[in-house]
């Protein structure tokens, strides 16, 4: 673990090599990136295993001394960091590999890999930072990496706009983080996580201050993790290349907000208000984004809204004091969402469109991608046995036991919607008749499918590290030696698990009835058997019934939320920029070029100051 600081440096090395000689290496750049991230991955696995048996490790040195202020820098390996190192380096390695196929033939191939290296460096640096200032520095650097990668296709207007939007929107959140951080520093005289927690525990910080700083820091997380109302950049960010969406906008960077809340968890638990805020925002985001996902027709946008929604789940879990549930879902989500994005990339690679209405009938043509996509879809829908089921169940239990019945209900409805729109996506893409212009569709090369297979396996089995049936290994390990993080496992009533299963299956069923029924029921569905058949017999009115009521309602609701999204949230953003722009216009109008005006303004300024002085503090009083 003493050498954990090397882990972020490999991708940095890759970035530098590719920046210097990438042009000459051309597509061989991929090997540089792949090998160096593999080195990171190997180290991360070693560190993870070492952390299983040894205590946490912290190294730091004096970075900056100003007067009597000492700021340190260093690295730390605790359970959360070790786990994050593993997730980030794994997904990054797989995305590096996958991109070799996906980006093949791109003129700026080496630059893409250089940017990937920069991003991975920043993200790994972020997760081993032992203090909040260092976290902040890498946090911003991650933003730069994301900015560059979203805008990679810079000749596309949308990509340019999306890159800018992502950067600015997350900056708004970062301001909150920065202020919160400085306030914490001011209160506790330290940026170190451990010392902040000690000060909070010792009661050295007033309750209002804890709540205030926690909420300010949470605003940073809201921006980065695409939570309501700062989520609008994330769907737009889908303009970037698909492997980027998998790496940054599904598995790693957007999870940084969740990570930050988890890393500062003892601060959040010290304030009920802060926790409640986190939970509420998380719950609202979960259902809000899920409902918008129902009507999207762009394959990546559906996945983007689903990411926003799942991140909302994680926040809900953390806000309900379910530390383990949140981190657990962060992990499983990283696997299955990366899988879904890579599979979606494989589909796009094959049919050259992102519009799902122009797809269909791809099951037979994409022999490997399709089943893998199905695995991802099942996992995210929370079908029993797959990873998403266990982690989502933990979250629901946490929300229920945390005393948030309303949020619990929202989460349950969101789970239903998730299952529905994910299967809607699946059916429209893979089953039915072929639509649109599909020419010589073929499966992606193995360099792209192999990473997907690996993620597919993880999407199935990753849940078993923490189950109500086989013991909560992950939970025990995560909270070991740190009572502030809460219980390793929250016992919940059994009906929650059943309810979760039922809503998930109901969502799938509904999706099948509406989008799947157009095809002759394929053999693979018959396994689901009797219940399905009984319902199928009545499919006529149920179908109509759903269409008239549920679907109409849900669609309407979703359009309403979309409306709020477009007009209210964006409207406020536009309003603020409008005011700033207006001020700018007035300012430049005053700049008339008349030298008399300039002198007059200076005199006027002086006069105003003198008059104010005379009135308030001086002679006239």
């Amino acid at each position: 673990m003493e050498n954990a600081w090397l882990i972020p440096l490999f991708p940095l090395l890759s970035f530098m090599i590719l920046l210097l000689i990438g042009k000459r290496l051309r597509e061989a750049s991929a090997y540089v990136g792949i090998l160096l991230t593999l080195a990171s991955l190997v180290f991360s696995i070693l560190v993870l295993f070492e952390r299983f048996s040894e205590p946490s490790y912290l190294a730091k040195f004096n970075w900056l001394t100003i007067g009597d202020l000492h700021l340190t820098a260093g690295f730390e390996v605790n359970q959360l960091n070790a786990l994050m190192l593993f997730i980030v380096s794994l997904v990054s390695f797989l995305v590096h590999t996958y991109s070799k196929g996906y980006m093949h033939g791109d003129e700026r191939f080496h630059i893409f890999y250089a940017y990937l290296g920069l991003f991975t460096f920043a993200m790994l640096g972020l997760v081993i930072s032992p203090n909040i200032l260092q976290t902040y520095i890498f946090w911003e650097l991650v933003g730069v990496g994301s900015f560059l990668l979203i805008g990679f296709y810079y000749y596309k207007e949308e990509a340019k706009a999306a890159a800018k939007k992502a950067f600015i929107m997350t900056r708004i959140g970062d301001v909150g983080l920065l202020i919160g951080m400085i306030l914490l520093f001011w209160q506790t005289k330290s940026f170190e996580y451990s010392e902040i927690f000690n000060a909070v525990e010792a009661g050295g910080v007033s309750n209002t201050m804890i709540t205030l700083t926690a909420i300010l820091i949470f605003i940073g997380a809201v921006g980065k993790s695409g939570q309501f109302p700062l989520h609008t950049w994330l769907p737009d960010a889908m303009e970037g290349p698909t492997p980027v969406s998998a790496l940054i906008h599904a598995a790693t960077m957007v999870a940084a907000g969740v990570y930050l809340v988890a890393a500062l968890f003892p601060l959040f638990t010290a304030s009920k208000t802060a926790l409640l805020t986190v939970a509420t925002i998380g719950g609202i985001t979960a259902i809000f984004a899920a409902s918008i996902g129902l009507v999207q027709t762009d394959i990546k946008r559906v996945l983007a809204y689903s990411t926003v929604s799942q991140l909302g789940y994680m926040m809900l879990a953390l806000g309900s004091a379910g530390y383990v549930a949140g981190v657990f879902h962060l992990m499983t989500h990283a696997f299955f969402k990366a899988l879904l994005f890579l599979a979606a990339g494989s589909v796009i690679h094959a049919v050259h469109t992102q519009n799902i209405e122009e797809m269909g009938g791809l099951w037979k043509k994409l022999k490997l991608t399709a089943p893998l996509f199905l695995i991802g879809t099942l996992a995210i829908s929370g079908v029993p046995g797959l990873s998403g089921f266990f982690s989502k169940d933990e979250i629901l239990v946490a929300a229920w036991e945390g005393g948030h019945p309303v949020l619990f209900l929202l989460a349950l409805i969101a789970a239903f919607m998730t299952a529905f729109y994910m299967f809607r996506l699946f059916f429209m893409v893979f089953t039915g008749e072929k639509r649109g212009k599909q020419k010589d569709v073929h499966e992606s090369p193995s360099v792209m499918t192999m990473p997907m297979v690996l993620l597919g396996i993880l999407a199935v089995v990753a849940g078993y590290v923490n189950t109500p049936w086989f013991g909560s290994f992950l939970g025990d390990w995560l909270v070991d030696g740190n009572p502030a993080l809460g219980h390793s496992h929250i016992e919940g009533p059994a009906w929650i698990m059943i309810a979760a299963t039922v809503v998930s299956l109901a969502g799938i069923l509904l999706a099948y009835l509406i989008y799947g029924k157009r095809s002759i029921a394929p053999d693979w569905l018959s396994g689901k058997g009797d219940m399905l058949h009984t319902v199928l017999n009545n499919k006529y009115y149920i179908d109509e019934f759903y269409k008239l009521t549920v679907v109409a309602f849900v669609t309407g609701f979703s359009y309403l939320l979309r409306f709020i999204d477009v007009f209210l949230v964006e409207g406020i953003v536009k309003g603020v920029t409008g005011i700033v722009q207006g001020l700018g216009r007035t300012g430049s109008k005053m700049q008339s070029g008349q030298v008399q005006t300039y002198g007059a303004v200076a005199f006027l300024g002086l006069a105003v100051l003198v008059v104010i002085y005379a009135l308030t503090g001086g002679y006239l009083r």
Binding site: G67, G587, L609
Partner: protein
């Protein structure tokens, strides 16, 4: 004073000034006797060499005791040395820009003047750092200003340049008048021009009428000197002058001249008004009493600079507003008045010097090539000259105050200072954060041009040697001080006792 005592004075503490002065004289003579056909560039290199010699001689005085000559009018203390170093480094970099400056509009005939006027302006700034007396401060200020007026108009056959010089002279004269008027009040109340004597006399000020007059003087001096800082309400000359002046001159005005402005502001405010009592011995000094006024100026400066910069389509005007904004950030540090104020301001000026001069080096190359100063001329720079684009990217990011760069550390320092101060300046800190976010928009609009827009012509760039030197120093410095800021802070901490020296 007999000639004997005159010659026995410790003149050696003025070595850097004498070096520069001597070389200026040599340059003037060389210019006079050199055949008209010979290239004057060599004079520029001599100037650079002299600046380096002065830099070395200044550096050799670091760590020494406080010394002063000529009745304390010229003094060497840590404050003087620290800021003189900045001015010399800035001056040297500007001279590098100047020798690489090759416009096509008739400056060639005044090349030699161009070099030595830059040096006289720098000399004025150096004298200001070491002044312990209102008279020398003002002489230094005027030497700097008058040289700058001519420099702004050195492109004699260029309409904008003439306009720029004219506006600069008129506004500069107004500012000098206001400052002098303010100073006359202070002199009238104390009967001396020596800053430390003034301080000791004013420390027991109790008469409320006198306090009132002195506070008026405070406001006048601050507003008058705001001209040199390009701070509100005396900022409006900056965009016009910056746009019209030759690029190295603009660089000089935005960096060296601004540093000198802060030097004189700090010197006067801290020594005179930092002691001048409001209600007799041991009462609150005027400076603390008037903190809110400084805060208002700082806040207004940040808002005006950053917000109006959004609307600019001319790169030099945009940088003029950006330099106004940076003056605002620096004023936040001055307003906070913490014990770390000197370090904060010094470090920020160092960071600002590096990133701004680096940016101007690139602006000079790009605008010379394009023949105009539009931001749109940066379109596609990444394809035409990747090195320039990446360097500019790093410098812009530093100007915006992004983590990992010197600009971030500078802002962080000031920001922490504003919170640490008793009482804390939260409103000011929030304005600083908000306007910093605004600044992202205009800095990034240049980035978008460079990286995301196609170029209009694909011709490549030749990077002159002088520009290359400036760029390397600026980029390496900005990143190095961003990653290992302790280099600068340790230097300051270990070698300088600024606060201790200041009032000796």
């Amino acid at each position: 004073m007999s000639l004997e005592t005159f010659s026995q004075l410790n003149w050696s503490i003025m070595t850097p000034e004498f070096l520069i002065l001597g070389v200026i004289a040599i340059l003037i003579l060389m210019d006079l006797f050199m055949p008209k056909t010979l290239d004057r560039k060599i004079l520029g290199w001599i100037g650079i060499a002299a600046t380096f010699a002065a830099l070395v001689s200044t550096a050799s005085m670091i760590g020494g005791p406080v010394q002063s000559i000529l009745h304390d009018t010229f003094r060497i203390d840590s404050f003087a040395l620290a800021f003189k170093l900045l001015i010399l480094v800035g001056g040297a970099l500007v001279l590098f820009l100047a020798v690489s400056y090759e416009p096509k509009d008739g400056v060639e005939r005044y090349q030699a003047e161009f070099y030595y006027l830059l040096m006289t302006a720098m000399l004025g700034a150096m004298v200001m750092t070491s002044s312990g007396d209102l008279i020398t401060l003002f002489i230094g200020l005027e030497l700097l200003s008058i040289s700058s007026y001519i420099l702004a108009g050195i492109r004699k056959f260029h309409g904008q340049s003439n306009e720029s010089a004219m506006k600069y002279v008129v506004n500069g004269s107004i500012s000098s008048a206001i400052v002098l008027f303010g100073m006359s009040y202070v002199y009238g109340l104390t009967g001396t021009t020596n800053l430390l004597e003034m301080a000791s006399q004013l420390a027991a000020l109790a008469d409320s009428n006198h306090v009132y007059l002195l506070t008026l003087a405070f406001l006048m001096i601050v507003v008058g000197l705001a001209f040199k800082l390009a701070a509100a309400p005396f900022h409006m000359w900056a965009p016009d002058v910056y746009q019209g002046a030759a690029t190295p001159v603009t660089a000089f005005l935005s960096v060296v001249s601004k540093i000198a402005g802060f030097v004189i502001v700090i010197r006067i405010l801290l020594t005179v008004f930092g002691f001048a009592a409001t209600k007799g011995q041991d009462s609150i000094p005027i400076l603390y009493d008037m903190q809110n006024y400084l805060a208002v100026i700082a806040g207004a400066t940040m808002i005006i600079g950053n917000v109006v910069a959004l609307r600019q389509s001319d790169i030099k005007r945009m940088f003029a507003y950006s330099s106004i904004a940076h003056a605002g950030y620096l004023l936040v540090a001055l307003t906070s008045l913490t014990t770390n104020m000197f370090q904060s301001i010094w470090f920020y000026l160092l960071a600002y010097l590096l990133m701004n001069l680096g940016a101007f080096a690139i602006i000079q190359v790009v605008t010379e090539k394009a023949g105009s100063t539009k931001i749109a001329d940066f379109a596609g720079l990444y394809r035409r000259a990747p090195v320039l684009a990446v360097a500019m990217g790093i410098l812009l990011v530093s100007l915006a105050g992004f983590p990992g760069t010197a600009g971030f550390i500078g802002k962080l320092n000031i920001f922490i200072g504003a919170f640490y101060a008793e009482p804390g300046h939260y409103v000011l800190a929030s304005i600083m954060i908000a306007t910093t976010v605004v600044s992202y928009f205009y800095y990034f609009s240049v980035m978008t041009q460079m990286f995301f827009r196609p170029a209009e012509d694909e011709s490549k760039f030749n990077i002159p040697f002088g520009i290359l030197v400036v760029l390397i120093i600026a980029v390496v410095g900005s990143v190095l001080l961003g990653v290992m800021p302790n280099i600068a802070f340790d230097f300051m901490q270990n070698n300088m006792d600024v606060i201790g020296d200041f009032f000796k």
